[in-house]
Symmetry: C2
Subunit: 183 residues, 2 copies
């Protein structure tokens, strides 16, 4: 099973994350956790979230990037759900070896994410905080799915990104299912 | 005036941030915004925050680092308060040229923040997301005040850090006051 943790605080204003979410919504063997729908009051149900993660083979974090990092509720989810004894530290092996796929949309394009660009660094510099969060929990960091310039590209291109996202999850789900069958 | 934005979700469990906060609490010409006290419900008063920032010469962000980034409510503050037309973009010059001091405590020490250490990178890699947030708002990024291994060092050392923090704000306040007098 693939757990897809989605966090977009303004779904009405999001074309990209809405199209990406729609592209995978009917896949079998995924569980979607839409954080801003579930927890508009920021009161995260830690046990429910941990149960979903424990049952998953692959964990997806899907959100836009605001100020170079995941939205606040996704950040709170990291703080509340990735606890010692569950996600890391003594006895904290619940996520060990699970694949972690970061699906992220950004407003900037390649020229913006450049030492000479408006963001002053290549994109990978900002990826470090998310990647290291996964690695600290002994997850396997998968090649991230990054959609740049998400507010500027047209619908057709976004639907193509949606198809690619769907194919990626099918591939990951198949691999996970196969591994489960062989394991 | 120096605006000190403090964000610690668990003040009872924080020695370091409590000692740092106490070391500067009685300084004249500072305004402290303790986010978790002001907004336990995550409902940030954007206008009130922007008024404080607009009146400040120097802005301090003081918090522990969780999962390599500021606590969730500090992150929400970035998202809600640093709006286009205020902090950046056309007409967004309210913070231009103001000093920005990042006062951050971490659990790790120098050996942890190393390519071969448990966090896989030198600390400055993780600083990029916060520094770039300040720079995007045309603020002047000051040399950060970083207290590593904050959960492990003894009270005496923490009080020494507190004294250094106090001296730093006095120095910054004096410079700001002087600049205001000359401007």
């Amino acid at each position: 099973m693939i757990a897809v943790v989605q966090a977009h605080p303004y779904p009405d204003r999001s074309r990209a994350n809405r199209i990406l979410a729609a592209a995978i919504a009917d896949l079998p063997a995924i569980v979607v956790r839409s954080l801003y729908d579930l927890y508009p009051d920021y009161a995260i149900d830690v046990e429910a979230e941990q149960r979903v993660l424990a049952a998953a083979d692959v964990i997806v974090w899907q959100h836009p990037l605001f100020w170079y990092t995941p939205p606040a509720l996704q950040k709170l989810w990291f703080e509340k759900v990735l606890t010692p004894g569950f996600a890391y530290g003594p006895g904290g092996e619940a996520l060990q070896g699970k694949g972690c796929l970061w699906v992220v949309t950004t407003g900037g394009d390649d020229a913006d994410y450049d030492p000479m660009g408006i963001h002053g660094h290549v994109f990978d510099t900002f990826a470090a905080v998310v990647r290291q969060t996964a690695l600290f929990c002994s997850m396997a960091w998968l090649d991230p799915f990054v959609v740049h310039a998400a507010t500027r590209i047209d619908d057709e291109t976004l639907y193509a990104w949606g198809a690619r996202y769907r194919a990626r999850l099918i591939e990951l789900g198949g691999a996970a299912a196969e591994e489960a069958a062989n394991g």
